[in-house]
Structures are given as structure tokens and as C-alpha cells.
Amino acid sequence: MIPELGHFSLILALILSLVQAIVPMIGANRNRLALMAVGRPAAQGQFLFIAFAFGCLTWAFITSDFSLQLAAVNSHTDTPLIYKITGVWGNHEGSLLLWALSLSLWTVAVTVFSRNLPEPFMARVLGVLGWISAGFLSFTLVTSNPFERLIPAVAEGRDLNPLLQDPGMIIHPPLLYMGYVGFSVAFAFAIAALLSGRMDAAWARWSRPWTTVAWVFLTAGITVGSGWAYYELGWGGWWFWDPVENASFMPWLLGTALVHSLAVTEKRGAFRSWTILLAISAFSLSLLGTFLVRSGVITSVHAFATDPRRGLFILALLVLVIGISLALFAWRAPKLAGGGSFGLVSRDSTLLGNNVLLAVATGSVLLGTLYPMFLDALGLGKISVGPPYFEAVFVPLMAPVVALMVIGPFVRWKGDDVKRVLRLLAPAIVASLVLGVGIAFAIGHVTVRTVLGLTLAAWVLLGSAKLLATRFAERRGADVGTTLRGIPAAWWGMWLAHLGIGVFIIGVTMVNSLNERVDVKMHAGDSAHLAGYTFKFVGVADAAGANYDAARATIEVTRGDVAVATLTPEKRVYVAQQMPMTEAAIDIGPFRDIYVNLGDQLEDGAWVVGLFYKPFISWVWLGCLLMGIGGVFAASDRRYRRLAQREAAAAVAARQTT
């Protein structure tokens, strides 16, 4: 009964989404307030129905209702409660429902927080979001109904894929989806701007916080996913340039470009059509990501579906969205031309340079990801494009981005003097070159990549320090507290996010230059050595979890005479699917991780053990964390709220006079 209620509720949500898609749009065109006002309640009602449907599905998983096909395939009575809940979105149908849920959550957030937008504009934004929602809800209902019954019911479920039974997987999909789907708001704002012809600095100011928040979610989602790959896949890598990762990375890259391009549009009224194009592209890439990941065209843990109907449906949706929005863009964009002119050396031009480079980098990732699929689809042979391609392309494209990123904040808008900027930054340039080469020699790893990475990292850190110092110098005389409070949140956001890039580069460079690994065969009592650490293999004992049996090894790690850690990697076999899985054990430290995994047992009773030394890997996550926090700061800047209030007052005044 409950699944049927969920199904029914989802159908009602689809009907409401169509109302939201059509009625306010008509209202905006005819300038009828009553019709425009339908958008808000329709969006909020739709959210309630989708949330109810999601609740029904979750209930079926929690109560192990195996008459529901989805629960029977993805859950098990012995699965811990938290993974029963994770199972709701650990499959194709449920994850689509999650997609729809996060879209309606974003829509409701827009109706609540952007109350001060002009009515026709708001109506168009909600209309666009309504169309997207209608597309995804009908996709869910027509090709991927999560409420499909299994008759007769089975006694026991097949359990969730053990790889997904992990704390990281509880939050990775919701975070990532909030990021993907969040770009739909930026997209809706862009389309509404094209439809209404209103595309000015105020528009950029409305759209900016939404874009930034979506970017924060996407950053967090990608970081958690990467962390999961690091400790769960068991071979110590954290980024594989796998198509699935690229699918989330491409919208991130363009989203980053969009956040910066919006800054120029807000401050200077420039780059307007470019900003719109980026908003359209970022959302299109989010849809493309959904298509790649969910259609089964690529081999990965994410590819649940192999039903070709589904791939075709998303592809059709993708073509419609891109086609319609680009046509609209081509029709309307010529009217947007203009904006301030700027000099060769100006903050505008550094941001332009970064935008172009980020777009080219996105294109290169897109090419490497799609080309093998095109060849395959056309029957021209099977190829794969691996990490060597992406590294060869990405490093040279991103190095100038990072170099420019540090210079940008020092340069004035509109135009600046080259000599002034050079004089400001010359000490930092020299110091970072010296540091880059010096540290590379000190760690005994002098390669082009290492020197480049360390130099860029030093450049970012020194540049950030200099930027902060300049900010203080401007307010000489004021005490520290006043100066700190006087700096707007948006500035801190920029500063933290840029600092995060520097920390991230340190992590990547160090772990790529100095990581060590060895696979050894060990009997109980054997010792092995790696990177100055001694690993003593004490032995293996049986251990059992709620839904798996495991062999748990105990490995004592010492450095000289000092005990460092006792690690217990496991080899698990999940009972329901008889699926083996390696659970690595990690001693996390600020300057290095010690990472151990347990391989197969050999005929003579020995075990194959993988030992890894990963210097500075935590800095990779720390850098991402700083970027995310920076985004939160940027979005919470007071001027967005102040401005909203001022505009609300103006709107009220306007209404009273008419």
C-alpha cells in the first residue's frame, strides 16, 4: 500500500510540475499577476509530494519490504539501518528520485529566499525549473519507476553493493546531486534573463549566491567521492580520470569559470553573453554527467542501468535542453552586447584569461571522455583514454590559471599599470621560484612536475600572504579587530578558496613525487620495510560484521623504536552476494598517511599485503575543504541580503505609487 501511495504522490508531483512550467510563463508573457503567482504554491506543493514519495520509498527499505523490486535487489534484512537508507539512492531508480527531490528542494529555496525578485522574472525562473522537473519526473515514471512491485515477493533481499556500504557513500550522492542540480538554478536565471531581456549587474547579483552555493555542494560532493575511492577501492589512488569522475569534474570546472565571470558581470556589467553561455553550458554538462553515469555507457560502479530506453530518454532530454537554450541564446544574445571596456592589464583581463583557460580545459576533458564512446558507438573500434592523456593536457593548461589567479586580486578593475603590479609582486615571484627549486632538491625529487608544482604552491601561499598584508596596510592605524571586521565576507571567501588551491597543489605534488608502495608476501611474524617504517604482520583472525564475514589482519607499524600505529585491514565477504571486498586500514597523519590493504591468502598460508606511504595526501582534502569554506563565505556576504532588502523596499514603494 505504501509504495502505491508513493507512486501516486509522484504522479501528482508531475502534474504540479507541469502547472509550474506552463502557468507562470503565460502569466509573465501576458503580465498577469494572478497567473504568475501560481508558480510558488505549485513548486512548494510539488516538493511536498516528492518528499512524501521519497519517504515512502525509504520506508520500504527500512522495513525490508521485499515485495518492492528495488528493495529486494538493493537491501537485506541484516544490512545496518544506515545502509538500508543509503540503499534508497544506491541504485538507478532511487537516485533519480533523489535528483528530482533535490531539484524541488532548490526550487523551494528559490521561492523562499528570492522573494524580492520582480514577479515576471521570478515567474520565468520557476517556469524553467518546472520544465526541468517535469522532464525528470516523467523520465522517472516512464522508464524507471522506483515503486515497481515484485510479485511474488522474495523472502530475502540481495543486499546493497558492498562497495557502497560505506559512510562516504551516505553523503556523496546527496552532496553531488545538490551541486549538479544547483546549476539548474543558475541555468533558470540565465534563461529567464534571455526571455525577459533583463541582463544587468542586478541580475548577476541575484544569480551569484545561488551559483556559489551549488559550486560549494559540487566541490564537497567530488571531494567526498574522491575520499571514498581512496580508502574504499583499496589501491590508494584518489583520482583516476575515470569517465564518471570527469562527468562531475567538467561542470565543476565550468562552474568555477561561471562564478568568476558572474563577478565581472556584477562589478562591471561586462562579459554578459559569456556568463549566460557558461550558465547554460554548466547545466548542460550536469545533464551530460547524469547521462554518462546513469545510462550504462561506461563501466563503473555507478552504471546500474543497462536499459537502452533510459539512455535514449536522457539523451533526448539533453538534446532538448541544449538545443532550446542555445537557440534562445543565439536569438537574444546580440541584444546583450556591450558592457564596460577594459585595459590589457586589468582585473577584467586576468579573469577573462582564466575563463578561457578553464573553458579550454573543460573541452579537453570532454574530448578525452567522449571520444572513446563516439568511436565505439560508430563501430570504429574500441579505445581508452587514460590518466597519461589527462595529465599531459591538464597540467600545462592549469599552471597559467593558477599563476593568473594570484595576480588577479592585486590588479585594479578596468585598467592598471603593469609596473605597479610587477613591483608589488616581484619579491613573491623570486621567492616562489627559489622555494620551488630549493624544496625539490631538499626532498631529492627534481623533476619538471615537482618543481612546477612546488613553485606554483609557493606562489599561491606567498601571494595570499601578500594580499592579506596589503589589505591591512590600506587601513594603517586601525586596530586588528576593526580591520578584520571591515573586510567583507566575499573577500575572505575569495582568499580562502585561492589559499585552498595552494594547499591542494602541495598535497598533489608531494604525494605524486614521494609516494611509495610495495606488495609483499607475509607469514605471521614477518616484517617488511617501507619509507623508514617497519610493518610487522602479527597474524589474521576471523571477524564478522552484521552482513559480512571477514579475515582481519593485525599489522604493527613502528618507526625506529617508536610505535606508530596498529592497523587492521580486512578482507570481507558479504554474505548475501558472496562478494569479496578489501577494507583498507589507514593511519592518517598531517604529513603522511600509512595505508595497508590485505590481498589474497596463498596456498602456504601466507598473505599478500599491500603497503603504501602517502605523504601529504591529507592536504589534498584540506585544500578542497578550504575551497568549500571559501564558497560558503562568498555566498554569505552581507551585500546580497542588504541589496535584497533595498530592492524589496523599492518594489513595495513602486506598488504603492501605481
Binding site: 563501466t299 560502479v301 590589457l344 574500441k382 583514454v385 592523456y389 599531459a392 552476494q577 578489501t582 590481498g599
Partner: protein, 150 residues
């Protein structure tokens, strides 16, 4: 600088940047493409010696052996028609097992032995890597064609 010449400099810079980036991408592409071959093609000598490529198929039942060091593994990968001997040093994926699909990436030695630098197995018990499926399908199709001819 006059606005006109400034625009020219900007435009020229952008075009130079794009051309450079495209050249970079294409050359990296050329050098790093990894081709895929079926065991039958490899056995027929159609695969390059000493260049990295991928083979997909099933791990032949009864073929997995470990060397005395415990970490070097030898097995054969087959598309049910031909089998190619593979050696690999390192930990195998959890779902690697005999009779199941796998994809190996590495180079072919002059001795006909494939030295894998990477072994990929599927992530899910019910899932077959498309490359492996493709190799088996091709071999089956060829066999069927041969039977018809006889």
C-alpha cells in the same frame, strides 16, 4: 594604445592561446590513446609489440598461478576461441576470479607473454565489462560463421 590595436592584441592573444591549447590536446591525444584488442586479434599478431594496449575477455578457468614471491600472478585471458598468457605483479581487484570477465592493460612481449600493468575487473557481481563482453561476442560470432562455412 588605441582601442583598435588593443582589440587586435587581445584577439591575437586569445587565438594564439586556443591554437596552442588545441595543439597540446591533439599531440597528447595521439601519444596516449590506448587501443583495445581481442585475444583472437592478439593471437593472430594484429596487436603491436611493445606498445600499451588493452585486452578484454574471461579469465580462463584453471589458469591462475602465483609465483613463489606471492605477488606475481600468471593467468590466461580468453575470448573462448584463443587465450593469451598474462603476467601481473601487484594486488588484484576484489572481483577478479577464474571464469569471470576482466580487462588487462599492458604491453605484449616478443615472447607472446602479455605484461599487465593494470587489471580491471567489474565493480558489481552481475556486471560484465563491455570490452570483455565484446571480445567474447566476437569470438562466438566468428565460430558460428566458421560452422556455417563447414
Amino acid at each position: 594604445m588605441k582601442p583598435r590595436s588593443k582589440r587586435l592584441v587581445l584577439l591575437g592573444g586569445a587565438v594564439a592561446l586556443l591554437v596552442g591549447a588545441v595543439a597540446l590536446v591533439l599531440s597528447a591525444f595521439q601519444q596516449n590513446l590506448v587501443f583495445f584488442h581481442t585475444p583472437t586479434e592478439v593471437a593472430a599478431g594484429k596487436a603491436p609489440v611493445g606498445k600499451t594496449f588493452r585486452i578484454g575477455g574471461m579469465v580462463e578457468t584453471g589458469s591462475v598461478r602465483r609465483e613463489a614471491d606471492g605477488v606475481t600472478v600468471r593467468f590466461a585471458i580468453t575470448d573462448t576461441a584463443k587465450a593469451i598468457p598474462v603476467s601481473y605483479k601487484g594486488s588484484l581487484p576484489d572481483l577478479f576470479s577464474e571464469g569471470k570477465g576482466a580487462v588487462v592493460q599492458g604491453t605484449l612481449g616478443p615472447d607472446g607473454q602479455f605484461r599487465a600493468s593494470e587489471v580491471l575487473a567489474k565493480h558489481d557481481e552481475n556486471y560484465m565489462p563491455p570490452e570483455a563482453q565484446h571480445a567474447v561476442d566476437q569470438a562466438q560470432a566468428q565460430k558460428a560463421a566458421e560452422t556455417v562455412q563447414q
